[in-house]
């Protein structure tokens, strides 16, 4: 009896103790992540980026080591996060008001939110001397009230990637530059038995590109800016944009089962292009890489043309829709942070990044480093751009961006009219503003 009682008691004690230890460990690990102090007398600059792919990741880390070698009193702490993890971490950090010294930004609405909260350093004067040669479109996303808040390292745009062989088969002499010529090209491809367009309907954002570009061409850039500030997308230009998209959808130009197709999976949009099963896709500068990844890639047959102009519209053929990546600096960060950005942007290293990692140069000085004909075409289109519109999901509040994606997907699926699209988007924009 006694013995039994003892063992059961000691077992209880053991359980209680281990439970307590478990709780304690959980509590400890919860407060484990504390600030990085600079106990060694060195200045530590924390640099958060989202470059997870090789060889870029290796090159970036190397650049940090080179900077440390040149500045023995500075330590660059490189923190590389995956895209989605980065976004959610930054959301939390923005709330707490403590940002990393240097951090990745896409510009637009999110950066503006951080600026409004007084968390971002104004870099206008500090970077002006060495960003003179930058493509204006590259800086556009980071400029608010004529002040620059970040330094771009990457820029890109959306345009049509097309299969020259299939266009030739359909006897289309040259890529269309007007919307009516574009619709004719789609008809010609269809009657030649070729799927004109690959589209990832499941992911919604590729469909949104059509609506966004049409809105830019019909309503114009100023109207798009005004629509965002007034939270009113019901203007005639936006309805017209939807109607033009409807004209295209009515031709049934997309691949079979496009509503369920993803972008980069083995039977998605990029694979359809990469395997020569569709004649074109509206996509960003990364398209050739993904086409080769998800499909076989079409090599020399691949060409690029800008989104056609719409007859009677406010926008021009030379206005581009795109975005890129940049580095912003926390308010009150050590001077070494800006120093490092300058070091990172040096011509030789920028050229190396262009050559080895397929970036499109942000500085006109580095254009010669481009070897790929298609990327050169994109770069030239960006260099000669007369206007720039940032990706809508970054330019507008997240809910508005998502509603545009959603509504346009419904328009393409045939369940919403152009008027309904503008009304739903306006409704969400209004509720976000209030």
């Amino acid at each position: 009896m006694r013995a039994l009682g003892n063992t059961s008691l000691s077992r209880r004690g053991f359980m209680a103790a281990s439970a307590a230890t478990g709780l304690g460990a959980a509590a400890l690990s919860a407060c484990g992540s504390s600030d990085s102090g600079n106990s060694s007398g060195k200045t530590t600059v924390e640099w958060w980026n989202i470059t997870t792919t090789q060889p870029a990741k290796k090159l970036w880390a190397q650049r940090a080591r080179e900077f440390e070698a040149a500045h023995p009193d500075v330590k660059i702490k490189v923190v590389t996060l995956e895209n989605e993890a980065y976004k959610s971490k930054m959301t939390a950090l923005t709330t707490s008001g403590k940002l990393p010294d240097i951090f990745h930004t896409w510009g637009g609405g999110v950066l503006q939110q951080q600026i409004d909260a007084g968390l971002v350093e104004d870099l206008t004067d500090k970077v002006a001397p060495w960003t003179k040669q930058y493509v204006p479109a590259a800086l556009a996303a980071y400029r608010f009230d004529d002040k620059t808040y970040a330094v771009p390292f990457d820029i890109g745009m959306v345009g049509f990637w097309y299969n020259k062989a299939l266009f030739a088969k359909a006897e289309i002499a040259s890529p269309p530059t007007t919307w009516s010529a574009y619709l004719d090209a789609v008809k010609a491809l269809k009657s030649a038995g070729i799927t004109p367009i690959a589209l990832a309907g499941k992911e919604k954002w590729p469909g949104m590109y059509y609506w966004a570009y049409l809105a830019m061409r019909v309503a114009g850039l100023d109207a798009m800016q005004k629509a965002a500030t007034d939270a009113d997308f019901t203007g005639e230009g936006f309805v017209k944009a939807g109607e033009h998209l409807k004209e295209l959808v009515a031709l049934e130009p997309f691949q079979k089962g496009f509503l369920g197709a993803a972008y980069s999976t083995p039977n998605g949009e990029a694979a359809a292009m990469g395997n020569g099963k569709a004649a074109m896709e509206l996509m960003g500068q990364w398209a050739p890489v993904v086409e080769g990844d998800a499909g076989k890639g079409i090599g020399k047959d691949l060409g690029f043309f800008s989104f056609p102009a719409v007859e009677g519209g406010q926008g021009a053929l030379t206005e581009v829709f795109g975005g890129g990546g940049g580095h912003a600096v926390r308010k009150g960060a050590p001077d070494a942070a800006v120093e490092f950005l300058k070091f990172f942007a040096e011509k030789e290293f920028a050229a190396k990044l262009v050559k080895d990692t397929g970036l499109i140069p942000v500085s006109k000085d580095v254009r010669s480093a481009l070897t790929d004909a298609n990327l050169t075409a994109v770069s030239d289109a960006l260099n000669s751009a007369t206007g720039f519109q940032l990706y809508l999901d970054q330019a507008y509040a997240p809910a508005v961006g998502q509603e545009i994606n959603d509504s346009v997907a419904a328009l393409i699926a045939g369940s919403k009219s152009p008027q309904q699209v503008t009304r739903s988007v306006t409704e969400v924009a209004k509720s976000e503003k209030s």
Binding site: R12, K256, G260, Q402
Partner: protein, 335 residues
């Protein structure tokens, strides 16, 4: 459990008491008091950590979601913009959410009307003396073990329009007409999804039924056979009534699964095309983590919780009453 372990030591004790004149009667009542204190102590020691964790990780977040659902909150800072029941009234005007309810109901109906009878048929079949029975059981149960994500990716490829295995197979036997859009069509996505759900979950229900069937005494069948009952009569008057508790539990689980359906759909269609396969859980994630409308997403989660809760309570009260009553009365008798 605690009752049985604490009551066993009484037996030798009582034996001791029965020994003539060895223990004074006063010692009798004192010991149980100590014991009761000990019981309380051990109960506290064992349950407090679990309760604390449960409270911290389940009750507090639930309460917070309930609180947040009365705000218009984007997830930044603390919620300040009170909207009262605004999020809830918005829910019942939102065609997507109303569609979620309709689709959820449809999936529940399909599950009960098709998936469970199918599972029952398979269970009855595999309960027979059959060569390789164990292999079949394992094969049919295997999909349930597979992770939802793997299943999703797998069937996404099988049902790829045009190039997928399904279309190729149909083409090879000359049935091209039956192939089609599968997950890519607004009208075909739900039936296709249900097909995958059935493939994935029927094995689980089949196992439940098999376990239930094992519990039916063979003598009953034997007696019925002697009385001249046919196969159908034996099934109708022995198998079904004696399997009823299992059937009721399995239907209950099936409904709860359907209400909370998320990962499979998220991987295959993310709710598309055009919301045609969206479930409540998917709407919640879309609004919460894509649009950062945390208040509205919380309202969806609260409604989801209430639907599950009301259903579970009503089901326990009206359908499972007989099954649980037995358990409760035994517990009372033990006490």
């Amino acid at each position: 459990m605690t009752h049985s372990t604490t009551s066993t030591p009484y037996a030798p004790e009582l034996g001791k008491v029965a020994e003539p004149g060895s223990v004074p009667p006063a010692a009798g009542p004192r010991r149980p008091v100590l014991r009761r204190l000990g019981d309380w102590l051990s109960a506290v020691v064992f349950t407090v950590p679990a309760l604390a964790l449960f409270g911290l990780l389940v009750l507090v977040p639930m309460g917070y979601a309930f609180y947040v659902s009365f705000f218009d909150w984007g997830g930044f800072g603390s919620p300040t913009d009170v909207t009262g029941f605004g999020n809830y009234t918005r829910l019942f005007e939102d065609p997507v959410f109303l569609g979620d309810l309709w689709r959820g109901g449809l999936l529940i109906g399909f599950s009960i009307a098709l998936q469970l009878p199918f599972a029952l048929a398979m269970a009855v079949l595999l309960n027979q003396e059959l060569r390789g029975r164990a292999v079949y059981r394992m094969l049919f149960f295997a999909p349930y073990i597979l992770s939802e994500v793997i299943t999703g990716v797998l069937f996404g490829m099988i049902f790829a329009p045009g190039d997928g295995l399904a279309d190729r197979l149909l083409g090879a036997v000359g049935l091209d007409g039956l192939g089609g859009e599968w997950f890519a069509g607004r009208d075909t996505v739900l039936p296709t999804l249900f097909l995958v759900m059935t493939w994935k979950y029927f094995g689980f229900h089949m196992m439940l039924y098999l376990a239930g069937l094992q519990g039916i005494p063979a003598e009953l069948y034997e007696a019925a056979r002697i009385d001249g009952a046919g196969t159908w009569q034996r099934f109708r008057h022995i198998t079904l009534p004696l399997l009823a508790p299992t059937l009721r539990i399995s239907a209950f689980l099936s409904v709860i699964f359907s209400i909370q359906l998320f990962d499979l759909v998220w991987v295959i269609t993310t709710g598309g095309p055009d919301h045609a396969s969206e479930t409540m859980a998917i709407s919640m994630v879309q609004y919460g983590f894509k649009r950062y409308q945390m208040g509205y997403a919380s309202a969806i989660s609260v409604v989801m919780f209430l639907i599950s809760l009301v259903f579970a309570l009503a089901y326990q009260r009206f359908v499972l009453r007989r099954d649980t009553e037995g358990a409760l009365t035994t517990m009372r008798a033990n006490r």
